[in-house]
């Protein structure tokens, strides 16, 4: 008996989608959730979808979360698919995180950092107890306000940099690699890696970053600085010939500081890993910074032995859209593939049986 290609699933698929839409809506006695509610009240989900979908648009991301029933990888997938329908008008000037409007800014290495430790809207010091007031419906107090200190907020390497104790940035105006338009090859440059990590899966990068802390490519990290806030986004349209702001972009930046023993050409100093993500995403920015530093192993003359230091392993597997595509495609019909495997197994078994029969015949003689 042979397996043949099967037609006739259309009605089943239509009905399955219809049921899915009904199930997504849930009990219609419960009010329907609006995309504005998702964007306003589930901001961290929306931010994660925008980061991994690699498209900043809170309204579209909220729609994607709603459509995907809260499945954030599916939502990021929807956003990635949508982005392919739009033309790209321009690339922005690199955003200036040094002049970010700060909502939060902390350092784990300098208590008295110039500009101060600004906690911002954080859950860091909560006890992680379920708050049943939220279940009952809750109107919060307005946030407290205080006179802002206009002192500058220098970055960690601007503070330690004078003494050469920490690696300086190497500014460059080179056109960056674009993984959405150019085929990636290894070893990949740092710009290509940062682009991949910025849209990489938070869970994957978290595990990779965690592995470096547990000794798989250890790099003794400290949080030099985390800042959360808004940066102005600027483009220079050719028809104008000058730069214009097109709006503001909320981002989270992490400067991870790591020990470095030095090499033949460099004295011992602190090196840095860098994380930058759309929206408020500290865990992701920190994980990205840990992995960025781990992936710089060969550049810094370290032996790359751990998974997090392996560029090909990390970069090829951090994209959850690609990963889910390849894993989930296993659900699609493989009838013909499987039929050929089945025939191979049958043939191998027949061969083995024939051999066994032959051997027992010989033994009997």
């Amino acid at each position: 008996m042979a397996y043949v290609a099967v037609k006739g699933g259309e009605r089943a698929i239509d009905n399955a989608h219809r049921w899915m839409a009904d199930e997504r809506r849930g009990d219609q006695a419960v009010p329907e959730i609006s995309t504005a509610q998702i964007a306003e009240q589930l901001g961290r989900s929306v931010d994660r979808v925008m980061a991994e979908g690699s498209l900043y648009d809170p309204g579209l991301a909220a729609l994607a979360v709603k459509q995907a029933q809260g499945d954030l990888i599916e939502a990021a997938f929807l956003l990635r698919a949508y982005r392919t329908t739009l033309p790209r008008f321009a690339a922005t000037s690199p955003v200036e995180t040094a002049t970010m409007t700060i909502a939060r800014r902390i350092s784990a290495v300098f208590k008295d950092m110039p500009g101060g430790q600004i906690l911002g809207p954080t859950t860091d010091y909560t006890h992680r107890l379920l708050d049943f007031a939220l279940e009952a419906g809750f109107t919060p107090q307005a946030a407290e306000q205080a006179e802002p200190d206009l002192a500058a907020m220098p970055r960690i390497h601007d503070i330690l940099g004078h003494e050469g104790l920490i690696e300086a940035d190497q500014p460059s105006d080179a056109e960056p690699f674009d993984i959405t338009r150019q085929p990636l090859a290894f070893p990949a440059s740092r710009d290509a890696r940062l682009q991949s990590l910025a849209r990489g899966d938070e869970g994957f990068l978290l595990a990779m970053g965690y592995s470096t802390q547990r000794g798989w490519g250890g790099s003794h990290p400290f949080v030099g600085e985390i800042r959360v806030g808004e940066v102005a986004v600027e483009i220079e349209p050719p028809e104008l010939g000058f730069a214009i702001d097109i709006g503001d972009l909320p981002v989270t930046e992490c400067q991870m500081v790591n020990q470095f023993a030095g090499s033949r050409t460099q004295p011992p100093q602190f090196t840095r890993g860098y994380g930058l993500v759309f929206g408020h995403g500290e865990r992701k920015a920190m994980a990205m910074a840990l992995v960025d530093r781990a992936l710089r192993a060969s550049e810094l003359g370290e032996e790359a032995t751990a998974p997090a230091q392996n560029q090909e392993f990390v970069i090829y597997h951090c994209d959850n859209i690609e990963a889910t595509g390849f894993v989930e495609h296993l659900k699609l019909p493989h009838y013909v593939d499987f039929q050929s495997e089945l025939e191979t197994i049958r043939r191998m078994r027949a061969d083995a049986e024939r051999e066994m029969a032959h051997e027992s015949q010989e033994a009997a003689q």
Binding site: L55, D57, A90, A91, G120, A198
Partner: protein, 154 residues
């Protein structure tokens, strides 16, 4: 002032375009309500939605890398007075982009410039500044005030 800082000083047109990019269509309409209708216009391009690739810098100040894309809407118009206006605004609001382009065109017209500055740009810039100041004030309230504890160690 260094050359780099000098380059960052914005022209009046850059300033008003930055304000228009951060104002919603509803806000623009509200501020136009007390003025005579803007000059008639013809759309040269758009309004059309697209993307910009947002760039960051490795380490915050190093070589540029592509962070991810952002939605943007652009529009270009020519008004009855012959002025050409452009707008690029983040998001997907076609009405905002078209209004911003029309206002950009009219602002280049001496007959319109002062009253548009007074009725639209100045108040919107003030409210955008106030929103920033409010964020800074909330942040300031969460600034840690360290104090030193005397220890028993001698």
């Amino acid at each position: 002032m260094s050359a780099a800082q000098q380059a960052k000083v914005k022209s009046p047109r850059q300033l008003w375009m930055a304000v228009l990019a951060r104002a919603s269509a509803a806000q623009l309409q509200a501020h136009l309500a007390d003025l005579p209708p803007l000059p008639a216009h013809r759309v040269l391009r758009g309004p059309e939605a697209g993307l910009v690739m947002v760039r960051g810098r490795a380490g915050g100040g190093g070589a540029a890398f592509n962070l991810g894309e952002m939605s943007v809407t652009r529009c270009s118009v020519r008004d009855a007075a012959g002025q050409i206006g452009h707008a690029y605004v983040s998001g997907r609001d076609a009405m905002q982009a078209e209004l911003a382009a029309r206002i950009d065109a009219a602002l280049q017209n001496p007959e319109w410039h002062d009253r548009l500055m007074e009725a639209v740009i100045t108040p919107l810039a003030a409210s955008q500044q106030a929103a920033k100041a409010e964020l800074a004030a909330k942040a300031a309230a969460t600034r840690v005030q360290f104090f030193t504890l005397a220890t028993m160690r001698s």
